[in-house]
């Protein structure tokens, strides 16, 4: 805390000297608001206003598909857009459980990095992800709160079956399966809510329709998910950004 303060003071002095807009410190807390879903390692990226890691209504990029289907951040981290951004990858050091929060700090190194994007896969799903889409963060000191929706990447049919091979064998295909249920609270052996390999009707990024799941008592053996555990409503995450100019 003390260190942060003195860093802030010196940043302020530099700002006075150059009389130009400066780096800002964003303290960011992400809370998982779902009742029974985990978030895979989060990516937080501060970038300029022209950068869009994803856009609702547009097809997902390949790196976004890899994040949304398998939780992998490496393809995103290798893009030039993320390379030019100030980032925090996996601030929680692993999955973020239902109700859990993770706090981290981004110090923007470029005065043009005024927009924040956050992505993370929602598990257990085929290709749902929680997203903050290129949100402008005010430069004024203050605390700003945003609520996030769950989106469907549109790149994998929502068959709701879990890969018996586990997350290490996750594949980026229409017929891919859910890599894992981190809560250990899913079924197995489902035949598929949709025939595996059947694409979504909407193959662009759209609001996720939610999972169907099934109940233990009346399940018809199609879904591996539980309708009393794995359903959600939006918003699925709360993001609080405290800006220190």
């Amino acid at each position: 805390m003390k260190f942060k303060k003195s860093a802030l003071v010196s940043a302020f002095i530099v700002g006075m000297a150059t009389s130009s807009a400066n780096a800002a410190q964003w303290d960011i807390t992400v809370t998982n608001l779902t009742h029974g879903n985990h978030f895979t390692p989060l990516l937080l990226a501060a970038h300029d206003h022209d950068t869009h890691l994803f856009q609702v209504g547009m097809p997902a990029s390949i790196p976004i598909e890899h994040m949304a289907e398998c939780g992998h951040l490496d393809p995103l981290l290798a893009t030039p857009e993320v390379g030019a951004a100030d980032t925090q990858a996996d601030p929680a050091g692993g999955p973020l459980a239902p109700g859990a929060s993770t706090s981290s700090m981004i110090m923007t190194t470029n005065m043009n990095n005024t927009h924040l994007t956050i992505v993370s896969m929602v598990l257990p799903t085929n290709d749902a992800f929680v997203g903050l889409e290129s949100q402008h963060i005010p430069t004024e000191a203050g605390t700003y709160t945003y609520y996030l929706n769950a989106y469907d990447a549109g790149t994998e049919g929502n068959d709701e079956t879990i890969n018996p091979g586990g997350p290490s064998t996750c594949t980026y295909t229409e017929a891919g399966m859910i890599p894992v249920a981190p809560g250990g609270d899913a079924d197995s052996g489902g035949t598929g809510v949709v025939t595996p390999g059947t694409p979504d009707t909407n193959t662009s990024i759209h609001i996720h329709r939610g999972v169907l799941g099934e109940s233990v008592a009346t399940g018809d053996g199609r879904s591996d998910l539980m309708n009393t555990i794995h359903r959600w409503q939006n918003p699925v995450a709360k993001v609080v950004v405290t800006v220190t100019p």
């Binding site: 609702v56 209504g57 929706n149 769950a150 979504d200 009707t201 909407n202 609001i207 329709r209 169907l212």
Partner: protein, 238 residues
Amino acid sequence: MELHKKFMLAVTLSLTLGLSACSDDDDGVMSPQPIDASYEVTVTNITNGQPLTPLAVVMHESGFVAWQLGASATEGLEMLAESGSPADFLSASAANTNVIDTASSSNGPFGPGAQESVSMTVTHSMDLQLSVASMLANTNDAFTGVNAWGIGDLAVGESASVLAKVYDAGTENNTESSATMPGPAAGGEGFNSARDDIDVVLIHPGVVTIDDGLMDSALNESHRWLNSAAKIVVQRVN
């Protein structure tokens, strides 16, 4: 906050009226000329399985209300939400003195992932508001849109974006049966003047579908949605 906004709108409205009265006077006093502003309204379907029907787009100022949560839908909105036809809603809106212009999209219903745009040029005022409505075709009477969205402060080149909620017109029971929904999943009836639901506009509870145990439903799990059905972007182009 809300009160403050309304007060500001009322002030702006009376100023606007005052100014136009001045320019009519032709009394030689310098008065600002009305400025035309052009807008492009683009609606993207972000559902997975719901075609959206042709857009009803209304540019208006304070005093026009397309719908109110907890109040009965107008007949025009009932027609739009049950059949998908925006015609009655638009003609009734155009008759309101606070409405500046109305428009519809021209390419019929548009499916998941598709988008429709409407361009309109209207006299600018700071009180300019945008209302948009469109039916989710595979439902009894669900519609999405925005209601009295203030766009008067958009500068040329600027745009604003919103994810539009899904409303239930409350005018038709949500049976989901094939006989009662006009969309491609059912092919049934559109408008019916009987109001056999609770007769107030509310947030839609969503569809149940046959996959979730409503055995008479013509819908399956692909037709479900959560919270939002459309992304609406308005850009001031001139």
